[in-house]
Structure formats: C-alpha cells, structure tokens
C-alpha cells in the first residue's frame, strides 16, 4: 500500500490519539519487547530513590514507536524513507498523547515523488513531548 501524489495535499494533517491514560504495564510491555530494561522506566523505587525522579517514565522510543503509527496508517508501512524525532519532555504514567502529522511538501525526485511530513506529539497539557520529521515515497 502506498499513496499517489493525488491522494495527498500540502498542508493536510492527520491526528491520532496514541494512548489515553498511559499505564505502567504498557511501559513494562515495551521494555520486554524492545530489550531496554533500564529501571528508570519500570522500577518505581529505583527511579525515585536512586535516580531522583518523581517516578518512572516511558522510554522515548515507546513514544516514537507510537508516533510512527500516524505515518504508517497514512502512507503504509513500506513507504517510509526517513523518520526522525527529538524527545522534548518526559512522558509519565497517566499521560494522554496525541500525534499530528502534517504534509509540508511533495518533492519530485529522480526516484519518484516523495512527501515530507512534520510530526508533533503533545500530552494532555498541550506540551510537546516529541517533534520530528519524516519522508515517504509516493506512487509514481
């Protein structure tokens, strides 16, 4: 599945609620699947008493992974050329995250048309937790 340039317009956006009231178990699930067992993310006692945080917080890569869905649901999982993010703020248990992807430009390249996206994931207070960009191949 991939989109043609006729299916996509500059300025068009897609928004998706990635998670509503993030549970600690989801973070544990991501630790197990990814292999990143940093206790900062799953071990409340360590996070508070040894590391000095208010509590455990999600792996940045969990937020990036969830954010990727707004792209792959739109352009298809086989079309991505680039996907990059900056982690702007921590994601805590209880957070609700909403991601928005916006088409910034459609470029003609020798290999065919490419759509460029900006990405923004916000928490329930409207604070940015992730920002980024992506590029996807479109059908010729």
């Amino acid at each position: 599945m991939s989109l043609s340039p006729d299916d996509i317009k500059v300025g068009e956006t897609r928004e998706s609620v990635l998670v509503d009231d993030l549970k600690r178990t989801r973070i544990v699930q991501y630790a197990g699947a990814s292999g990143d067992f940093n206790p900062l993310h799953t071990d409340e006692r360590f996070a508070v008493e040894a590391a000095g945080y208010p509590g455990v917080f999600a792996h940045g890569m969990l937020t990036m992974g969830m954010t990727g869905r707004v792209l792959t649901d739109w352009v298809g999982p086989e079309s991505l050329l680039r996907f990059g993010v900056r982690f702007k703020a921590q994601v805590w248990p209880g957070d609700t995250l909403t991601a928005t992807a916006t088409v910034e430009s459609v470029e003609e390249t020798p290999a065919g048309p490419v759509a460029h996206f900006s990405l923004r994931t916000l928490n329930q207070d409207g604070a940015e937790v992730v920002t980024g960009t992506a590029a996807a191949r479109l059908e010729q």
Binding site: R26, A33, S34, D36, G68, L80
Partner: protein, 151 residues
C-alpha cells in the same frame, strides 16, 4: 558476514507491534513487516547490552535496596533518526555495525550537557544497507542532581 547478527523473527515483531499499540495486520504472520522503530529491539541480540540484567552480574535496579544510579548514568535519549533503504521483514537476518558519530556540549540550565551520537548501520546478508539509525544521547556533566523539577 561481519557485524552483530540480528535475526528478525515474526513473534518478536508481533510482540513489539503490540507494545507500541499497533495491530496493523502488516506486522503479523510469518512474513510480517517490521514497524519503523523495530530495529531498536536488536538490543536483545547484543550480548553485552548494558540495560539488560544478566545472570551472575550485579544489576543496578532495586531489590532489597533502592539500587544505584551508575556514574554518568543520568543519560537520556535526546534524538533518534532512521533512514530506510528498504523494508525489514521477518525471516531475514540483519547485521548491525556500530560507529560513534559527533559529540558536542551545550550549556543547560543546571550545568553542561554532553551530547554524543551513536550510529548503527543494519545491513543484510549481501552487505546491502537496510536501515541506518542514529541515536543522540545527552548526559549532564557532574554529580547527578535531584530531578523534582523534571515534571
């Protein structure tokens, strides 16, 4: 083939897709495609990966006590970038090649921040590039400070 081998398994992709909350049918079945951030899970196949407890080795998380924050262990993930040369599918083996990228410092609110890049090039059995990944980590210089203000 050189590099650290990373067998891409259908069951692992399914578990990873569930963990990121994505039930796209493309990520299911014998020939599942891998989600865009899946190559991070190659950590499972890194024998020396420091963020996995290992038998007979001290682990820094809590047990009878609260655990110990390692020296310079206050590192956080600042940025992550992927470049896709082609999709990754279950049933293939990738080979990870690690290199260090740039490093730089920046003045933060409570001291100097040290940034460093780690680049992982995932190649296939023919040596062709599949995914290029760049991790930017940031570590605050000096003693770990309490982080009540982090929220």
């Amino acid at each position: 083939m050189t590099g650290q081998s990373f067998p891409v398994e259908a069951g692992h992709i399914l578990m990873f897709a569930r963990a990121i909350g994505d039930e796209n049918p493309a990520y299911q079945g014998e020939t599942a495609l891998a989600p865009p951030t899946f190559t991070m899970a190659s950590a499972h196949h890194d024998p020396d990966y420091h963020l996995r407890p290992k038998p007979g080795e001290e682990w820094f998380g809590s047990g009878a006590g609260p655990g110990v924050m390692a020296e310079g262990g206050g590192g956080l993930h600042a940025e992550q970038h992927f470049e896709y040369h082609r999709p990754v599918r279950a049933g293939e083996t990738l080979y990870a090649h690690f290199t260090l990228g740039r490093s730089w410092e920046k003045q933060g609110r409570s001291g100097r921040l040290l940034f460093s890049e780690r680049i992982t090039e995932y190649r296939d059995a023919d040596g062709e590039p599949v995914v290029s990944a760049k991790t930017v980590a940031v570590v605050p210089e000096g003693p770990a400070t309490r982080k009540e203000d982090a929220r």
